[in-house]
Subunit: 645 residues, 2 copies
């Protein structure tokens, strides 16, 4: 209720959008970072004409009908308790977990700045939109918001305009109890332009003037601090924490209606209001038509650029792009999968116009630099290497914003695998909001060695295998790394996490891109009739150990199958027949080896099998020593196999 | 190398500590938040006399021998790649993951301020120490640091003095590429006193003066920005990112020695240096003796307070404390476990002098308020309700600092279970650094209803079951909640996570505190001879569903066992015989039900059993409706059971 004036001015006066096509490319983006106030956005979208929209080429029919407003937070309504981009037209990203929205908005604004710099021409500025965001005290307290806003200031994202709903109330009461910092001063320190609207409840002209001022400042993002009263209009509950998470109640709703002079029935939109808002449908259609004409001209004059841009707008991948993926033979040199990953990124960036990304201050360790490009910076925004600084959480959320800006943008981001812990909330939002972000996570086990247990992931593979709609991939060599990238690019509604080694690994016989696409597959087998004596299963850097153990066991006459289980999720998607062909139910002698928690492996190896892994924290020592001390060796696999067959 | 002057001044001139007893209670605390520079701290500790220390009553013998320095980052040395409190005497907390250390330091300083306010008397200021921390650019970029520092400013932690090693270099190069904000301005906004030492390489007197000034400012924490040159002294590699993560190399080490006028062999400590530092052992002994005398006087004059304080210092729990735990019968009213948790907290705080904590702005939802206490605030630091604001990550790390300040401090902290994603890195450090933090995590499933999938945990139980040294507890009712608290308090080297319901749950027959202590136990069984037809397994809010299904199945003549698997980790610790008594290997008909990912359940139900759970994201709707739509019902359990027996 306190945000209604800003929301009204944005949707009715300021923003450029087409209600009948929420995916029109050059629309202004709006993010409600304070997602718990979503009813305001749903109501505005409904008024603006999003009550029925045409089907986007890759999303299913969506609309906000008046019945959806009545069924707020009910089963199968389009109006969930927090804004969800995959449910509701006009909702750009998924917010609610505080701080994510403002960081997504930084990503959206980055995408605009980057694409504008790459594609705009002096005679045709084909990309030109703003990103607006409303955030509250809760978002301001979250560290992720500070991370993302520090980057926004650093990058000079002048078309990012954030409204800070300064209502002094969060769930536990007055912000005095936990939040007495000077937000203005902090944002000035972060390099933002700061404006204060003192009366956000009724100061419409002040808000309009602030937006005008913000647009005039082109080299800095703007924070408009709007001091409001939470629950404004409610005579008895305004300015109290009881309106933060709870409904007013029937009695107070009546009192509020009276107080605000609103005599209508619930959910009734008076004709004059309808009339006032009705211009947005034709206006939006005109805006899009105008832009389409502009794009036609662009296509004529700048054929090559237009083709690239079109691919970014539509998400259609250039024909034959996957031929760019490097391939390897067992004779190719041993290498760390983090290095092989860099070969893939540098090969793919030549054919995928939407690929861009970077690392949280570990580019030279994560091996993520794109050699043919410079750094995306304030004055070189056309470049594609993004420097996120040591800000993992902000990085993930910014990538969500980039991915959801345009179907063809494919952001990747990188840190050590263990530091997914810093960005897990953002990764979960990638998964929930169907954002195709590629997480390049190197140093994926105790194999990183001396940095010790603070840096050595143990439970992380299991923790992501348990997360819905995330592809967890742990390639073992060059071909599997190429396969992982192929899958990551093709899964357009799913983020992928690539767990990559710091240490060198051999190129194995039998690995393949096609194998990776199945998630699990046989890389070698000397048995016949689908009945090996034992199945050895490995992933990533431990697949080599399984192969060595198999070699020894075969020398002793055993029939041994080696399976690479590079992605459990992809394997789960296969037919029962295929699964049975890899893991015949009759073969209960199964040994798995993975330098991580054995949690979850019970299902694969069965009650008679054995899972070799690490169910404790790591240690600081050279990698080889830790592997030996922790019993991750061919000898251990051989011993376990012999016990079983 | 750039930090050597600050380190030297702190350890040689400023800090009060006893090298022969690193756990002396009133010592100044030091945290190296920039943990990758740990060799500096190891060297200083070695010089100061930590080369052999007496055995603390609950920690094993530790020391930093010269051989440990030689074996930097090697197997079983006391000098791991990042500082670890459980490995190295004189290391207070475990750092390395950036930003954690500064947030830990805020917790240490909070503990000091709280205890001083509670226990100090006009005639005997028994608690009086500083907390010093060195942090770098990497820490400054992390959101967690901003969260914790905002709270430190809000709380006015005047005895927290942070050195910001402003060397303009992080791993990827000059901080210009990603970090151009004004840190000074931001910290002023956060309510800190800021001092700038322009020449940190050689400006010893400037550093001394800054510390003096910082100590004089009693109502604000101080940030001393010390501009240094990374790798100072190295003629060819100073001020370059190549010295951030790599060694200088033999040649450059030689050149550096020459440049600094240091003619000695590696690892040789000249006699005059030894002589200079040798005073710290007797000085430390004297400091502790003096303080012990002070404590004796305190004990005489303030008997009751001294007993409480002693319990906090030693970690010894008051005799019979567990009798305070509430008990319940099946006739007790149905209630949400979050409410039952509050009953436990309020009962325990009467008997546990070290219990304190709070929520990340959800106290009224997490039900964590201690009714007999007010808020810990700048001017009321003796109180025990801590208001963390919406800062989950900072909250977790601050609690780690509190827990590691004194063996008897038992911090708890709270948010919605799904937001453990925001603080996972801090929770992992709790586990690794053996910090007994109690994580009170409410709204633990789709049972929270309308807030929708952004707020509904799915994979979280599995993700913590996979994490080493974390107790994941999901109590089903009042007795189990009491049991969970009992275990959480008793496990002094392990953090516990309590997953608690938003919705009401009945008090079940057969649940018990003793059962919880075993992790998994039979709550009802109508079979004989340890051979039920089927075993139904539930946790938390779904145990009720298993009970209802059992009632129905028994009516149909089946012999049914119901098992509560409240903590997998505790169950794993039991004997094989006990485990067999709960899950006889011969009984393969097993059905589990839990409102979370089925990942990991394969090991419990076996290849012939069935795990009922949720392997997708949740939905926004009333809880009952979601349970039904997702098939988490007695009917589903009955159907699965009938298929198996």
């Amino acid at each position: 209720m306190g945000c209604a004036p800003m929301g009204h001015i944005l949707y009715d006066e300021v923003m450029r959008y087409n209600p009948k096509n929420p995916y029109w490319f050059n629309r202004d983006r709006f993010v409600l970072s304070a997602g718990h106030g979503c009813m305001l956005q749903y109501a505005l979208l409904h008024l603006a004409g999003y009550d029925s929209v045409r089907v986007s080429f890759f999303r299913s029919l969506q609309r906000i009908h008046i019945n959806d407003l009545k069924n707020f937070r009910q089963w199968e309504s389009r109006t969930p308790g927090h804004p969800e981009n995959f449910e509701t037209p006009g909702v750009e990203v998924t917010t609610g977990p505080l701080g994510q929205g403002i960081a997504n908005a930084v990503g959206l604004a980055l995408a605009e700045k980057h694409l504008a710099a790459r594609f705009n021409k002096p005679d045709n500025e084909i990309i030109d939109h703003y990103t607006y965001v409303i955030l509250g005290d809760g978002c301001q307290m979250e560290g992720i918001a500070n991370e993302a806003c520090s980057l926004a200031g650093h990058w000079g994202l002048g078309k990012l305009i954030a409204f800070y709903d300064d209502n002094h109330i969060s769930i536990d009461g007055d912000t005095e109890i936990a939040f007495t910092e000077s937000v203005d001063k902090r944002f000035e320190g972060l390099g933002w332009h700061v404006i204060w609207v003192k009366n956000g409840n009724t100061g419409y002209d002040e808000i309009r003037a602030a937006i005008k001022e913000a647009k005039a400042v082109k080299d800095k993002p703007t924070l408009i601090k709007v001091t409001t009263t939470i629950g404004y209009g409610s005579p008895n509950k305004a300015n109290s924490y009881s309106v933060h998470g709870s409904a007013l109640g029937a009695k107070e709703v009546d009192a509020t209606r009276k107080n605000l002079g609103w005599p209508y029935e619930p959910f009734h939109v008076p004709e004059d209001v309808k009339g006032h808002w009705s211009r947005h449908v034709p206006q939006g259609a005109a805006l899009e038509a105008e832009w389409n004409a502009k794009f036609s001209a662009y296509e004529k004059n700048y054929k090559e650029e237009a083709a690239e841009l079109k691919s970014i707008i539509t998400g259609e991948l250039p024909a034959g792009w996957e031929k760019a993926l490097p391939t390897y033979t067992p004779e190719s040199p041993a290498d760390a999968t983090r290095n092989l990953s860099q070969q893939n990124l540098n090969a793919l960036v030549k054919v995928l116009p939407g690929l861009l990304g970077g690392s949280a201050d570990l580019a030279s360790s994560n091996m993520t630099l794109l050699k043919m490009f410079g750094d995306f910076q304030k004055d070189t925004p056309e470049e594609r290497n993004v420097r996120f600084g040591v800000r993992e959480h902000g990085m993930g959320a910014i990538c969500n914003g980039i991915a959801l800006h345009s179907p063809g943008l494919i952001p990747y981001c990188a840190t050590f695998f263990v530091f997914t812990d810093y960005m897990r909330a953002a990764i979960r939002i990638s998964a929930l909001s169907q954002a195709r972000v590629i997480y390049v996570m190197t140093h994926d086990s105790i194999g990183l060695g001396e940095d010790g247990p603070t840096h050595q992931p143990i439970e992380h593979l299991a923790s992501f295998r348990a997360m819905p709609n995330v592809l967890m991939l742990r390639p073992a060599d060059g071909n599997e790394t190429a396969g992982a990238y192929k899958v990551a690019v093709l899964k357009r509604k799913t983020p992928s996490i690539l767990a990559l080694s710091r240490q060198k690994l051999p190129q194995l016989a039998g690995t393949s891109i096609e194998g990776v696409e199945k998630g699990g597959y046989i890389i070698s087998d000397n048995s016949s009739g689908n009945s090996p004596d034992v199945i050895l299963i490995g992933t990533g850097s431990e697949l080599e150990i399984a192969v060595k153990a198999a070699d020894e066991l075969r020398k002793e006459g055993k029939a041994v199958r080696v399976v690479s289980l590079v992605s459990w999720e992809l394997f789960d998607e296969q037919s029962d027949a295929y699964k049975e062909s890899v893991f015949p139910s009759a073969v209960t002698a199964r040994v798995s080896i993975e330098a991580g928690s054995t949690f979850g492996w019970g299902k694969i190896v069965g009650s008679k099998g054995k899972a070799i892994g690490i169910d404790r924290f790591g240690a600081s020592a050279p990698a080889g020593r830790i592997y030996k001390e922790f019993g991750l060796t061919p000898e251990a696999v051989i011993a376990a196999a012999k016990e079983l067959c």
